[in-house]
Symmetry: C2
Subunit: 184 residues, 2 copies
DNA sequence: CTCATCTGAGACATCCATGTCTCAGATGAG
DNA sequence: CTCATCTGAGACATGGATGTCTCAGATGAG
């Protein structure tokens, strides 16, 4: 039963990250179950959306722990974080597209807590002289998440190869688009 | 009358870029008119969304022309483009969040045409040795747009000062988050 | 096999946004 | 002032997604 919940949530992410207004029929079909069974697992649409949001935030938080972003060199910590997050980029794309989620105080608090950890990572990196100080830590955090969501969308639509996605994200975010003529 | 259309569209962008599922009531209120008048200007919700999409694409295209992205140094061309686009970042945020728009063949063709111009800009920059070749031109194009939409959201929610937005976008995208220790 | 449980299909009822209409008040030109 | 036009408020019908229910068939343990 618990396995069913997770597989349904996973399927829901695949649909909702691209089409936040998808009907429950489509979500059920994507999960390989009927609309009736979907209703048996989740009381309603709102509950389903909320569960997906919780899953996304849990995975995000787990990624912060796995990557141990509070430890070691800030740049390496961010690289670890990207490697861990990219496989679940679709979840971040879902979070980015489902703004209604932030009406929920609990989800909002979870998000704020986790975003603070990421901001702290960038602030630490700035203090260590690793990250640029001309760009605020909050903007770096937000931009990192925007690009992560973008990776999720691009992979889902087949515009970006999953194997290239971590490289594309971290290289663009860390190094930018300009060729470093001074170091070549 | 034509002035009314534009002001309504402008208000609609402000609402829809943050909440793509906003009711027509909210849009009408945001525009300072009644739902009845909104219906008099636009036949229905679909028509309104489509008009906003067309406006966004027209502005985007005008920005490409104004910035003359086909001329001169690729980096400078991109900087000009960012400067011109940032004031209308909310429109790009709307485009990014309204995936349903791309069911329309006309809008889809317009987008594809304009995105091709941006991709060509990056390809040119890569050939000139300005942009990195490890990242594909299409990914650079997509990431640029993702960050642009992110700027739009951040400004709308008050997380980013409008005056800083162009700098934040172009500096992060071109130079990345890393401090350039080798050049300092 | 037998029975309990789960599932899918379908038939409803319900809710809500949308679309349409009317009418009274406001606006503005003459 | 007078009339034409526009607007806002509200009532009303409509459509579609959602939520609930039933029932027959499938599954699976004993």
């Amino acid at each position: 039963m618990a396995i069913d919940r997770d597989s349904v949530l996973k399927a829901a992410v695949g649909v909702l990250s691209r089409q936040p207004t998808a009907h429950l029929d489509e979500i059920a079909r994507a999960a390989g179950i009927s609309r009736a069974t979907l209703h048996r697992i989740f009381p309603g649409r709102d509950a389903l959306i909320r569960e997906v949001g919780l899953l996304a935030l849990r995975k995000y938080n787990a990624a912060l722990d796995t990557a141990a972003i509070e430890d070691g060199d800030a740049q390496l910590a961010l690289r670890r974080l990207a490697e861990v997050l990219v496989p679940d980029a679709a979840l971040c794309a879902f979070l980015a597209g489902e703004n209604q989620l932030f009406d929920d105080p609990e989800l909002c608090a979870l998000w704020e807590n986790q975003d603070a950890r990421v901001r702290a990572l960038f602030l630490r990196g700035q203090q260590e002289g690793v990250f640029r100080i001309e760009l605020s830590a909050s903007w770096l955090s937000e931009a990192f998440f925007d690009l992560l969501a973008g990776v999720g969308w691009a992979v889902q639509d087949g515009r970006l190869a999953p194997r290239d996605s971590a490289f594309a994200l971290i290289e663009l975010f860390l190094g930018g688009a300009l060729r470093r003529t001074s170091t070549s």
